[in-house]
């Protein structure tokens, strides 16, 4: 509804046929290095790099990759732990760098990024300690007419006086089902060698087999809450959907229900829902990351950068650059609904 009114205004303007491109004023500011990192306890360090584009005449929304950066993972005293290596994968929208050391909870890490001709970026992130939680029950149910999957969680607080920032989210990792066959000791994809298969399918040893490949691509599943203590209250209504459900917890156990949209659980080509597995995340995150996620939710809810609405400023802890470096301790619940 909120967008509708703005659309109507735009509609009136369209109707009047008075659209005009305005020159964007030239900019003399320099691009910045964009750093996204979730430093997850129990995982290897991963950092995604990109470059920003100063807003000016003649730009588009294509971002260049940054394969030539030097990224250091340091401890809180700035001692080098390791240097992250570039992972050459053209499927990544941003340049991915990965380390070999497993990160630990209740530790503070620093990330230093140096990109040639760019301002260096640094940030530190506290990876929260492991937290105790129980998945009390799950159920399929309805929420305001929509089929949803309900998870009832009980999460224990951190020691007294320490604030814990909890994030719930759900993604569906896209899977590609590959059908292949062996012939003469060679593996052939069925789709690419359909003629060959037809010729040899009756020969001994030739049979179809299936394999599932996990894509480096995810579908975001809308999440819901009915809990008035959720910080999503600062963003929108409790009957709305969100990227993530956010809680600030201190001293008291958190008993809450997370709802995820069940429409996306099972593949449905007509609704553009691919096959894959659903992963429900319960994360304890660093404060800076939590602040970023709160403003990110607001921004994604805002109908664009236009003169009718107030722009949202994203929070960031990347000194000298843009993005966020967050510490995470998480529990993941993989769910399989599609036949893979």
């Amino acid at each position: 509804m909120k967008y509708l009114l703005i659309f109507m205004c735009a509609g009136i303007a369209f109707l009047m046929g008075c659209e005009k491109e305005l020159p964007v004023p030239p900019s003399n500011i320099k691009p910045r290095t964009v750093v996204y990192a979730e430093l997850i306890a129990g995982s290897k360090g991963e950092v995604r790099l990109g470059k920003s584009k100063p807003v000016g005449p003649g730009i588009n929304n294509e971002f260049e990759s940054v394969p030539n950066a030097a990224i250091q993972l340091l401890d809180k005293d700035s001692n080098l732990i390791e240097t992250l290596q570039y992972v050459d994968d053209p499927n990544n929208n941003m340049s991915l760098y990965r380390g070999n050391k497993t990160l630990e909870g209740a530790h503070t890490y620093r990330v230093r990024v140096a990109v040639p001709d760019m301002k260096p970026v640094s940030a530190s992130a506290w990876v929260p300690p492991a937290f105790k939680m129980d998945l009390v029950d799950t159920a399929r149910t309805m929420l305001n007419g929509r089929p949803v999957l309900r998870f009832r969680f009980n999460i224990q607080p951190l020691p007294a006086g320490i604030r814990q920032y909890i994030v719930f989210e759900a993604l569906k990792q896209i899977a590609v089902l590959d059908t292949f066959f062996y012939y003469s000791g060679q593996r052939y994809h069925l789709t690419e060698n359909a003629d060959l298969y037809q010729r040899v399918k009756n020969e001994p040893g030739v049979r179809l087999e299936k394999d599932t490949t996990w894509e480096n691509a995810y579908l975001r599943i809308p999440c819901y809450t009915q809990d008035e203590n959720a910080d999503n209250n600062q963003i929108g209504g409790l009957n709305e959907n969100y990227n993530a459900i956010l809680f600030t917890q201190m001293n008291k156990p958190l008993n809450t229900c997370l709802y995820i949209n069940a429409t996306a659980l099972v593949a449905n080509p007509s609704l553009y829902i691919p096959q894959g597995r659903v992963m429900v995340y319960v994360k304890s995150v660093s404060k800076e990351y939590y602040d970023f996620l709160l403003t990110y939710e607001k921004l994604k809810r805002n109908p664009g950068l236009n003169s009718l609405v107030q722009a949202i400023q994203l929070r960031s802890n990347a000194i000298g650059g843009l993005g966020v470096i967050g510490g995470v301790n998480q529990k993941v619940f993989p769910l399989y609904f599609d036949e893979l």
């Binding site: 509804m1 909120k2 509708l4 009114l5 703005i6 659309f7 109507m8 735009a10 509609g11 009136i12 369209f14 009047m16 008075c18 491109e21 305005l22 964007v24 500011i29 910045r32 964009v34 995604r48 990109g50 003649g58 730009i59 588009n60 929304n61 499927n91 929208n93 929420l143 305001n144 007419g145 929509r146 949803v148 993604l171 995810y218 579908l219 975001r220 009915q226 209250n233 600062q234 929108g236 209504g237 409790l238 709305e240 429409t263 990110y296 607001k298 921004l299 994604k300 809810r301 109908p303 664009g304 236009n306 003169s307 009718l308 609405v309 107030q310 722009a311 949202i312 400023q313 994203l314």
Partner: protein, 853 residues
């Protein structure tokens, strides 16, 4: 008293009568000649004898009691001579009215031409003035009317009602009760409706709020919007009163037109500073609109037709000189003139207004007014419209209803009071029909209805007391019962696991009391008006009292010049939560609560005004306004959702507005006009926005300039033109863009019900905003021309043709500016990013025809 002339037996024929009656009867009955001067004897003053007076001296003694005059027998005559004491004063009072219709005239000056001491008729046309017995005459003057010089003492007993003739004879003939001149003092404008039709208007719709925007310190958020912004304040900071009834939403069609039908309005007063103590409840201004009282003498009517709207007006006496009514109706015609196919393709829109007023004279001292207003907007947008296909069908219907019963009473010649009981309701209904697919074979039909409602019931009293010609007191108070239900939503969809939340409702009591003293000192060179307004908002969880001092000091100088300084503290208990800058019916009015404090403003102003005899007027103002606890939201509120807990999204902060204003105006003659210029700044500061740094308010405009002229080519033909200029509004242009967080991690997909404005594209970037409102949109300016021709002189039926052209040079003014959104329908992942400006109106002619009888 021992003189035979004074002990002559005499029994009055009645115990009650005027001084003149008894004097004449004594002369007739006893043959004694009585000599007196009417200059200092108020002959029409009514006297009540005690019944014990049986001599000429006793009767004269009683009737002259308190007048400072004594009876002196000299040479067989009785002379009524002034006692040795100083000049004596007596009070004259009454109503100032228009000669033809008996409509009351507000703001007429009534003064002694010798001492220049005087007063001004109040909002009900009432005046009360103490004059010395040496005063031979008093002057009634108003810029829009011929001056009346009334000889004293008054010819009749009782009230001295004065009837004035409009200066513009043409308008007197054609539009009884209308005049076209503005009363302007520092920080105050009173504009009769006749003035509103002076200048060109968008689609020919005369709009009182847009006419006010010609004056300095006023502006609008968007081109041709009736959204009135005063000295850097928000639209919610104006107190709109329609016949004393507060209104919360004043826009038709997203504020393109105000709800105040020009045909029904008599005049509008705008207070920008030096607020009288009787007003309270808003921070920036008071817009006091009064509707026509109805013609007490004869029936008149008129009808106006244009390609987009029609209106009709009827006024006249039910009982001549006793009671009159005024009825005005206005309706848009777009939905009537275009067929179903048009509505299916583009949607349907209509609006109407009804104004009714009954004006009942009970007696010369008491009068009742009953006024009613209803305005309604209806809008339907089909999901499959051709402009911007949506997923759902939408309906909007919003309406205002107000009723006021007002009782005005002349308690005595020095004291006037009005008591008003009011009812005000704003009701906004929204409904949505949609089909939400759940799977290939399954979907749900959603029918949702949302209501946002405000109800006020109030009673208040205002009393004015003229202690003497140098000292006036006004005081009063009131009570308002507020009932707010800002968000209520229900749907046919089964809630399932969702918590059923009651729509929030607020029941509040608001109390007001005020007192104000106006003193004229140093032979009227110094006027001081201190005042105190008390307001309090009480509800079950909170109580907010507020004492608001006001003071105005004016130093009158020779040659019609004055300097004025004022201070006013204002408190606003109600907040409007809105993100867009357009005037939407969905803007949410909420009260101060336990967590959200009332907003406060401290206004300071310094003004200079000079007037020339040939009716040129120059006015300069400096102002500074500090705002505290003003609220904003930094997210998009969805008011049609009971679960959207607005209190969690409100941030309180401060504001600072300052600037200067200049006005040069020619008010009379064949050529009249206005030139106004405002240089202003408006800043806001919120702890969690823009890193806690000050940033320009969305309504900050550095320069505002208006030039409006009217030339009377012939008595029955006017030409007019206006040019308005406003600096560009602030806009947040990102300094950089950078990869989106989700996109950067190869996470895709839409959230349900949250489609991107630019169709099928997933936006893969985020904006980096270094500073809020760092960029300025293009300036808004347009030249409009118009003409009015009056036909049918001397006939019972008269005709007016009004025509003109809006935005003559077809300026593309910014209505919406967006970075990327709204425009691009591409399936390419990467595309150019651009600023897009959408304009609403290019050159737009208008024509309307009015007939009158």
């Amino acid at each position: 008293m021992r003189d035979p002339l004074l002990i002559r037996p005499y029994t009055p024929p009645a115990r009650q009568g005027s001084i003149l009656f008894f004097i004449q009867d004594i002369q007739r009955t006893t043959g004694i000649s009585i000599s007196y001067s009417s200059n200092f004897l108020h002959l029409n003053k009514k006297i009540q004898l005690t019944g014990t007076e049986h001599t000429t001296g006793a009767v004269l003694n009683t009737i002259l009691q308190g007048t400072g005059i004594q009876a002196a027998p000299v040479n067989g005559k009785i002379f009524l001579l002034r006692e040795s004491s100083q000049t004596q004063y007596y009070t004259i009072s009454g109503f100032v009215k228009e000669v033809n219709s008996h409509e009351i005239i507000i703001g007429a000056s009534i003064y002694d031409p010798v001492t220049r001491k005087g007063t001004v008729s109040n909002a009900y046309g009432f005046y009360s003035l103490q004059v010395p017995d040496s005063c031979n005459s008093i002057v009634f003057s108003h810029i829009g009317y011929e001056t009346v010089i009334q000889a004293l003492p008054p010819p009749d007993e009782g009230q001295l009602d004065i009837h004035m003739t409009a200066r513009n004879q043409l308008q007197t003939v054609i539009v009884s009760g209308e005049n076209d001149s503005v009363t302007l003092q520092a920080g105050y404008i009173n504009m009769p409706v006749g003035y509103v039709s002076n200048f060109p208007a968008l689609l020919g719709e005369k709009d009182v709020l847009k006419s006010l925007q010609l004056y300095p310190g006023t502006g609008s958020s968007l081109e041709s919007s009736s959204n009135l912004l005063i000295r850097g304040g928000g639209a919610d900071q104006n107190l709109y009163l329609l016949d004393g009834v507060p209104l919360y939403h004043t826009g038709h069609l997203f504020g393109l037109f105000s709800i105040f039908n020009g045909d029904a309005v008599k005049d509008v007063s705008l207070y920008k500073d030096a607020f009288p103590a009787r007003y309270g409840g808003r921070l920036s201004s008071v817009v006091d609109i009064r509707t026509k009282d109805g013609n007490m003498k004869e029936w008149h009517g008129k009808g106006t037709f244009s390609p987009v709207s029609a209106s009709a007006e009827l006024e006249g006496p039910i009982v001549r000189d006793k009671s009159a009514i005024s009825l005005s109706i206005r309706r848009s015609l777009v939905d009537v003139l275009y067929g179903k196919r048009f509505h299916d393709r583009y949607g349907k829109y209509s609006l109407y207004d009804v104004n009714f007023k009954l004006n009942q004279v009970i007696n010369s001292k008491n009068r009742l007014y009953l006024s009613f207003y209803k305005g309604q907007d209806n809008m339907f947008i089909p999901g499959d419209n051709v402009i911007l296909p949506l997923q759902d069908d939408y309906k909007f219907a919003w309406s205002n209803i107000t009723t006021a019963l007002k009782w005005t009473r002349v308690i005595n010649p020095r004291m006037f009071s009005n008591t008003t009981a009011t009812y005000s309701r704003f009701y906004n209904l929204f409904s949505q029909n949609s089909v939400v697919p759940l799977s290939e074979i399954d979907s749900i039909y959603v029918n949702g209805k949302g209501v946002s409602r405000i109800r006020d019931i109030a009673i208040h009293n205002e009393t004015e007391y003229a202690i003497n010609s140098d000292h006036r007191l006004s005081f009063g108070g009131g009570y308002t019962y507020h009932n707010f239900a800002p968000t209520a939503y229900r749907t046919n969809v089964h809630a399932g696991d969702a918590t059923q939340r009651e729509a929030p409702k607020y029941y509040m009591s608001e109390f007001t009391a005020y007192a104000e003293d106006e003193l004229s000192l140093l032979n009227d060179r110094l006027i001081i008006r201190p005042g105190l307004h008390f307001g309090a908002l009480a509800q079950s969880s909170s109580f907010y009292p507020s004492l608001q001092p006001r003071v105005m000091v004016r130093w009158n100088m020779p040659h019609m010049q004055y300097i004025q300084a004022s201070f006013a503290q204002m408190t606003q208990f109600l907040h409007q939560l809105t993100t867009p800058v357009i005037n939407l019916p969905t803007d949410l009015w909420v009260p101060s609560t336990e967590n959200i404090k009332p907003e406060r403003a401290f206004s300071y102003s310094l003004s200079y005004q000079k007037q020339w005899a040939n009716n040129w007027r120059f006015n300069a103002n400096l102002y500074y306004k500090q705002l505290q606890n003003i609220v904003t939201t930094n997210t998009v509120l969805n008011i049609f959702d009971n679960s959207d807990l607005w209190e969690k999204k409100v941030i309180a902060g401060n504001g600072y507005n300052y600037g200067s204003e200049l006005l040069l105006e020619k008010t009379q003659g064949k050529f009249t006009g206005i030139f106004s210029y405002t240089l202003s700044w408006a800043w806001r500061k919120f702890a969690r926005i823009n890193s806690g740094q000050m940033f320009p308010y969305k309504e900050d405009r550095r320069h505002n300039l208006s030039l409006a002229v009217k030339y009377r080519v012939k008595p029955r033909w006017n030409l007019s033109a206006s040019w308005k200029f406003a600096s560009g509004a602030p806009f947040t242009l990102p300094a950089q863009i950078f990869p989106d967080f989700d996109w950067g991690r190869n996470i895709y997909g839409y959230l349900d019900g949250r489609y991107q404005p630019n169709g099928g594209n997933v936006i893969n970037y985020l904006p980096y905003i270094a500073k809020l409102n760092n960029y300025r949109l293009h300036a808004v300016h347009h030249l409009d021309i118009g003409t009015t021709i009056y036909l049918g002189k001397g006939n019972h039926f008269r005709h007016i043709i009004t025509g003109g052209v809006y935005n003559v040079y077809s300026r593309s003014n910014p209505f919406i500016v967006s970075y990327d959104q709204f425009t691009l329908f591409t399936y390419n992942d990467f595309y150019p990013l651009q600023l897009y400006q959408y304009s609403l109106f290019k050159t737009l002619p208008y024509l309307s025809y009015t007939f009158k009888f």
